[in-house]
Symmetry: C2
């Protein structure tokens, strides 16, 4: 079966293979931006359904349509779990400003530093997506353009309440973000009461990465919890993220205040019920990750 | 960009366009069965990730890998809501036997009739999928091969506790299953305390159908609730289903017994938390469906 004819040959088709067994194709009607940075291929395309889409190295990252499905859980879950009057937060990656935008909705965020490696991503997202503008007007927001891995060395011990690692899938290029050395650094800077959240990957397609990430994080953190978030357009129903903490009780769903989500302005994809549901994997996924966890 | 080369030309690629703006491609390594029935094109293919996949008219329906993400909510949500000692259930469609299989796990199911139009679907699913065998050994199970729309006329008024409409997307061919006449028939046979669940469609890709389905069902049922279920591999994170009932209080999440899900044997994708979360749409989807609901 020849596939290319379906959308017609006059359109650009973005083709993302997922582990070789399936693929996801988007029709891109207009290319707003396409250039190679020092680090990656960056494309901003227009799709009728999505609006603008950010595509890095041919992998669909976020779009106007679906950004909240991804950014809201990343931003709000750790804040809800930490639940303190003043929260000092660090975002590693997140160059589209989306996580920062949602994070800054919380009045108890005292400071949010976003540490993005690729200046071209920042420039492009400032221009084509709405989140940067609101962040950069906020005095609590600070941008550091550079390597998050190195940046951690500048920070004081036990100084952060929340760390959000919002990278591309942590294989290949972003592989350093699942290294022993990285977790050692995270452990140094996160407070005893703090919570870290990191995108890992899809359970069904890239499940293998859990086999090496989970034993690794367990060496460094008493609290390790894999959560499943249904990120729209990430295909398999549940995208896996990990929560890390020095104490396992920091990751109990009960720590999230009762009406936590209802009190977030203009929240789109979360409810006070589903945020708690995400923190408990369904049995099929729990069985899967438990193979790699000792406790 | 020519797409067909990606998986190599020696493989079959199943290509499903979703509303023209995106598409989903599966590599099919082996075709177990491919034939046109009186009603549709039926393909059973092998994909490394999914195992066997059932593909009807080029649309991916279910696979070994993901069936529970779809079948479990369809089967268990109405049973949980109705919560009676004896439940008389009807499945319209569902020819893969998956919904029936999960439904029959409940001891309070007294009778479950599955009414499938296409005998070839039944034959194929008996041969290639595991669910039929377990159903057909169960004395409470009854198969009717024929038109569910007409079958409803044979039933007594107020005789059913649960009706599950498990069809292909209810446009085109299955369009009769969202007709005024169909809802009139359903209303006649469902009990005052009964609950109906129907697959509608994806909110983001086929959202338009809510604009005509919702005003229609509101004419017939006091209880109308749209729910969002993250069906793995159905792409957009939440697949929409509707719950219908003669009384709106039949659809309250509180009706589901506390440990309802934990007590279902070998449940895979549900938890007692997420089943309740599914019953409350996230704000972005609630706002969307509320445009079409009067109450």
């Amino acid at each position: 079966m020849e596939v290319y004819g379906i959308f017609g040959r006059d359109r650009i088709e973005l083709f993302e293979t997922m582990g070789g067994e399936l693929a996801f194709v988007h029709r891109i009607e207009k290319v707003h931006f396409h250039q190679r940075s020092k680090y990656q291929d960056i494309l901003v395309g227009e799709n009728k359904l999505h609006g603008k889409m950010l595509i890095l190295d041919n992998v669909f990252n976020v779009s106007n349509l679906m950004e909240a499905y991804y950014h809201e859980p990343m931003a709000h879950i750790p804040v809800g779990l930490v639940n303190k009057e003043k929260i000092n937060a660090l975002i590693i990656g997140g160059g589209d400003f989306g996580v920062a935008y949602h994070l800054l909705k919380h009045k108890n965020i005292e400071k949010a530093v976003m540490c993005e490696l690729d200046p071209m991503v920042i420039e492009v997202c400032r221009k084509y997506f709405p989140w940067a503008e609101k962040c950069e007007k906020d005095k609590r927001f600070e941008l550091f353009v550079g390597d998050g891995f190195k940046y951690l060395d500048n920070l004081q011990e036990n100084s952060l309440d929340v760390i959000i690692i919002d990278s591309t899938d942590p294989f290949d290029k972003a592989g350093i973000l699942i290294s022993e050395e990285f977790y050692t650094k995270l452990k140094r800077v996160i407070k005893e009461s703090g919570v870290i959240i990191q995108l890992i990957s899809d359970f069904h397609i890239y499940g293998e990465c859990y086999s090496y990430v989970l034993p690794r994080v367990e060496k460094h953190f008493e609290g390790v919890k894999v959560i499943g978030v249904p990120v729209a357009f990430y295909i398999t129903g549940y995208t896996g993220m990990i929560l890390l903490s020095k104490r396992k009780e920091n990751l109990y769903a009960e720590n999230i205040p009762e009406n936590f989500v209802s009190n977030i302005p203009d929240v789109k994809t979360l409810t006070d019920k589903n945020i708690r549901a995400f923190l408990e994997l369904p049995p099929v996924l729990k069985d899967f990750v438990n193979k790699y966890l000792s406790k």
